[in-house]
Amino acid sequence: MKQVILITSLWCPSCLIMRPKYEKLFKEVNIDIIEYDYDEDIEIVKKYNIGKILPVLIIKEGGLEVARVIGEKKKKELKKLMEEFNNG
């Protein structure tokens, strides 16, 4: 069972840009994104050790992290991510 977690923040323009793109991509494979706010969900976000750049997308499978995408990505990179997601 795959799980997709997205960490964003209300003040982050890159998060505003990436959110609808991720939503569209994962809707195609019938997966809901679980979104956490960097400033609100402090304890949960801390567990993921996300570093200094937002947004962060984490793909988990069987409770284990299998992929992580940091920051703004181009269409080509997202396509590659989805290919890996579907094959994996």
């Binding site: 209300l10 982050c12 750049i53 920051g71």
Partner: protein
């Protein structure tokens, strides 16, 4: 019969009077042929440019000019020597009455009325055209080259020191303008836009709009959003006008200009370093884990939920001032450098205010777009952080260029090109 005779007399008078007026008018506006003495070299490319330009003025623009060419590299040795000798005689005669003539570096060398021009750049071409137009209406009494040919001694009064047309150009749509004003205006727009394109205040504005949208209260959104933007504008206006005043006070002090120039070079280099550093990291929003930023966000939340408008507005004003203070550090000195450029150009008072307002408009343009979209769609949109790194590069290059000009060629920065 009497009636008919009177009618003829009236018609005759009208015709005669009309024609007389026309004749006088035609004489008034009859263009004077302007003699253009052009010292050239058939093998020099810059001369070819001026040659073409003069021929275009005569042919395409129909300016009444007589081009008198002296080829200093004529295939006929006699003509060649005559042209060379005349050119050196004219240059020597000019050097005796005008310090500027010491800079004449050979061909292309053009003498029109009381003016002389060397080189072929855009400014030279513009001035040639402007003064031909001037002499077409008001002929210059002295033909410097003819006087030298006749062995007369030139004196300072033979030169035309009027420089009012030096920078005037007839631009499409805009009309006749001083190109220095256009240069300054373009610089204002460019620096303002680059300065505004930084993520510091944008993040706060997006947070503010996001919180306002959550309230679903359009009136509150307009009032508090505009309060934030107007405070930012007023704050920047104050900062820029203060800097212009300070810079104007120290305008005559070379050391002050040198310090600002060095400052521009330092910050320019730092901005370019930041650009190259950003290439190595992911594009996105950098998390700032300091208590100051967190306190700003907490305060925004607090003031947005404040029921009483005066308190909410006062709170947002305070937040905007703090944010802009922080942003001033983000903009790495562009406003300071811009203020110095205005001061160097002698811009003060209401003119300085006008330029500053244009600067602020372009400084806030991205914020205004984001705010307007949010107001009409109730959605927050962000501008990609992928482009902010280019603002470091462009800002850095602008600052380096201005720094170099300020330290080494301050005249160019005053748009005295």
């Amino acid at each position: 019969m009497v009636k008919k005779t009177l009618l003829y007399i009236f018609a005759f008078m009208m015709f005669f009077g009309f024609n007389q007026n026309q004749t006088i008018k035609a004489e008034d506006t009859m263009p004077n042929t302007v003699k253009v003495h052009f010292f050239t070299d058939q093998y020099c490319t810059n001369c070819a440019q001026i040659d073409k330009y003069l021929n275009d003025l005569k042919g395409k623009e129909k300016l009444p000019i007589e081009i008198i060419k002296y080829d200093t590299n004529d295939s006929d040795p006699v003509k060649r020597e005559e042209s060379k000798e005349l050119m050196f005689d004219v240059i020597d005669a000019l050097k005796a009455i005008d310090e500027g003539a010491a800079n004449i570096m050979g061909t292309p060398f053009v003498v029109i009325g009381g003016k002389y021009y060397n080189g072929s750049n855009a400014t030279v071409r513009l001035r040639i055209k402007n003064y031909i137009k001037k002499y077409e209406q008001e002929p210059w009494l002295f033909d410097l080259v003819e006087m030298v040919k006749d062995g007369e001694t030139l004196i300072t009064e033979h030169l035309d020191f009027d420089d009012t047309l030096d920078y005037m150009d007839d631009l499409p749509i805009i009309g006749v303008v001083d190109i220095r004003d256009v240069s300054l205006l373009l610089m204002t727009i460019l620096i303002g836009a680059v300065d505004g394109f930084n993520p510091c205040a944008m993040g706060v504005l997006i947070f503010l709009i996001g919180m306002l949208i959550k309230t679903k209260d359009r009136k509150r959104m307009w009032i508090l959003g505009l309060t934030f933007l107007l405070t930012s504008a007023a704050f920047y206006l104050l900062i820029l006008m203060s800097w212009i005043t300070i810079a104007s006070q120290f305008l005559q002090k070379f050391w002050f200009q040198l310090i600002i120039g060095m400052f521009a070079l330092g910050f320019g280099a730092y901005s370019i370093y930041k650009y190259f550093k950003s290439l190595k990291s992911d594009d996105g929003c950098e998390v700032v884990d300091d208590t100051k930023t967190k306190r700003i966000f907490e305060n925004i939340k607090k003031f947005i939920s404040e029921k009483k408008y005066p308190i909410a507005m006062a709170g947002i004003i305070a937040v905007a001032v703090v944010v802009n203070l922080i942003e001033l550090a983000c903009s790495t000195g562009l406003p300071v450098i811009y203020a110095e450029v205005l001061a160097i150009n002698g811009v003060a008072g209401s003119e300085a205010l006008m330029y500053t307002l244009i600067y602020i408009l372009f400084f806030l343009i991205d914020d205004l777009i984001v705010f307007a979209i949010a107001m009409f769609t109730m959605k927050v949109v962000g501008m990609s952080n992928r482009y902010t790194k280019y603002s470091h590069l462009i800002g850095g290059l602008i600052m380096l260029a201005i720094g170099i000009l300020m330290v080494f060629f301050p005249n160019i920065l005053a748009f005295n090109f």
